[in-house]
Symmetry: C2
Subunit: 348 residues, 2 copies
Amino acid sequence: MAERGPRRRVTIADVARHAQVSTTAVSKVLRNAYGASPAMRDRVKAAIEELGYRPHAAARAMRGRTFTIGVLLPHIRNPFFADVLDGVNEQLAGTSYQAILVQGGGTDLAAESRAIEALIDRQVDGILMIAPLTAKSRLEEVSAEMPLIVLGRHERSSAYDAVFDDDDAGTELVVRHLIELGHRRIGHISQRCPGRGRPLALPHLTRAETYRRVMDEHGLAAEIAIAVTSWTEEGGYDGTRELLARSPRPTAIFAGDDQAAFGALAALHEAGLSVPGDMSVAGYDNTKLAAMANISLTSVDQDGVLMGRTAARLLLERVEGRAAAMRFSVTPTLVPRRSTGPAPADQG
Amino acid sequence: MAERGPRRRVTIADVARHAQVSTTAVSKVLRNAYGASPAMRDRVKAAIEELGYRPHAAARAMRGRTFTIGVLLPHIRNPFFADVLDGVNEQLAGTSYQAILVQGGGTDLAAESRAIEALIDRQVDGILMIAPLTAKSRLEEVSAEMPLIVLGRHERSSAYDAVFDDDDAGTELVVRHLIELGHRRIGHISQRCPGRGRPLALPHLTRAETYRRVMDEHGLAAEIAIAVTSWTEEGGYDGTRELLARSPRPTAIFAGDDQAAFGALAALHEAGLSVPGDMSVAGYDNTKLAAMANISLTSVDQDGVLMGRTAARLLLERVEGRAAAMRFSVTPTLVPRRSTGPAPADQG
DNA sequence: GGGAAAGCTTGAAACGTTTTAACAGCGTCG
DNA sequence: CGACGCTGTTAAAACGTTTCAAGCTTTCCC
């Protein structure tokens, strides 16, 4: 029979008693607030040290801050999010803020809503949402309750800050790269979008739109071919098989992101096609794996660490009181590798 | 100037007033506690619905439960953890519990300690730690404060539950597989362990130990070669280069986990060696990518989703009051693929 | 030396929930 | 018919912190 929590938690009152001051005094020292003499400050700090006191976050949440920032991300699985999170933690290190993560159920809008409510109910000081599906109007409601940064969406709002990659520029880089290599039939793999209202400014929609635009600008409107699956290995695999079934089949695929591109490479391997001899493949995100010699996937680099760091910085600024909305955009760069090459001589 | 939080949160008192009952009554309905008539229950539920009331987690934390379970994981980047988390969320769906994640800084022990404290201070109802580095004694301290499940470690403790893969069996499967293919010089890639005390029963230590044992049992003690880097793409790459520098070089590598194996494949590609012609490679975890046709990595499958589901179930049982410690172990299976093959004719 | 201002310190209220103990109402049993 | 036990309900205390308003020194100025 494990006795649960036998010794009571050290509270601010214990510290106060031990340091022979009032609880208010201790609270002030803890928060570096005005009205505590250096002498008292030292005495209280010594007591805190001696007793091993740690503030009780829940109790703090009742009145003041909780020193917690909530991060909502669609799914753990995407390695790009790991970069973003590294940036966030890097920026938070040294402050007294802690990041807690909640996973929002991929393309499940209801699950995402629950996750957001969970963060609000847990009284975090601010929320960072990574590529949320939720409608803009709801985001603005949330930002009325607490500071909010949205990472990866392009819409302009005066209520919350936005940090995003210039997906339009990045996509243009890839598609032009393929066109300059002589490709004309370039396929694209995109994601299903669950929201039924106005389309959101999510990366996959921007990338699909820009893909269409650039194709069109080069007189390739007739060659536009989009497979709508999902940006996972399986999605890339399925999407590629769908594109391969076309006749004539594409000579290049812009897979939308790296994970889908990995699936595409697998599908092509299985179909006995060589890369880039028979088919060029490009991804997006420049994940670590894309850089590996045996994969060598052409990709677009968006600095995820920088985005995460910036998002965290903006969020802390908001928590500290900044009111005006800000936007921060990262300019992507093309990283050409061996998965893309000249288009094969056309036999159609 | 965004007005922050203009309308007060709906509280239990508002609900009580609206339903013409006491706050206690509302609380009872919320917790499905004894002592509320069906009629009252209905009335209160209607009021909750009408007002859109949601319980304030921080306030709850002051007295009762917070309906939150904390998950500590070393790093987001490992795709195996994504499986585990899927299992956890699957098990939690339908309950009123929410999982929150905290990232524990990879191999940084101090960062992990801070993350654990953060969860305790936030008063979660229970903690699930995935492959923590923290000393057993500290884990037992933590489990005195709140229910704890440790996933991925083998030690036996009467204080907390353990869910783990039988790494010993899994490793034996791989190493025997390679030996049966005729390999004698089999290299291994392991991770550095930060703890300086008694070695912990962490997966990478068990795997390394079993690798030694099986090699020894087959009279291959002299051929043991371990590169200690880390289980990441970079670590696998570096470790493989280290192993390749040996003379004579190994004919097979058991990379420890899939991510390291991907790095190994890249290093071999770069060195101009064919897989499995010149060198066989095996991983562990059977990630999605390992199954892709172009990679086709031999790996060991441990059912991460099942482990996550089980861990969450055990944790909820603990939260509900179970006292006796339990252990749950998953039996791994070998998934042979094209990255392993017969040893090349020995020229040394 | 008197009074105001400034600086430091404090008790008590507040936050939103759960829990404890007590209280009516009502039937039952001795 | 009074004591008793059940049921449904309630008022009030408790949780650990922050904040408010007020109290107490000390300092400074005229």
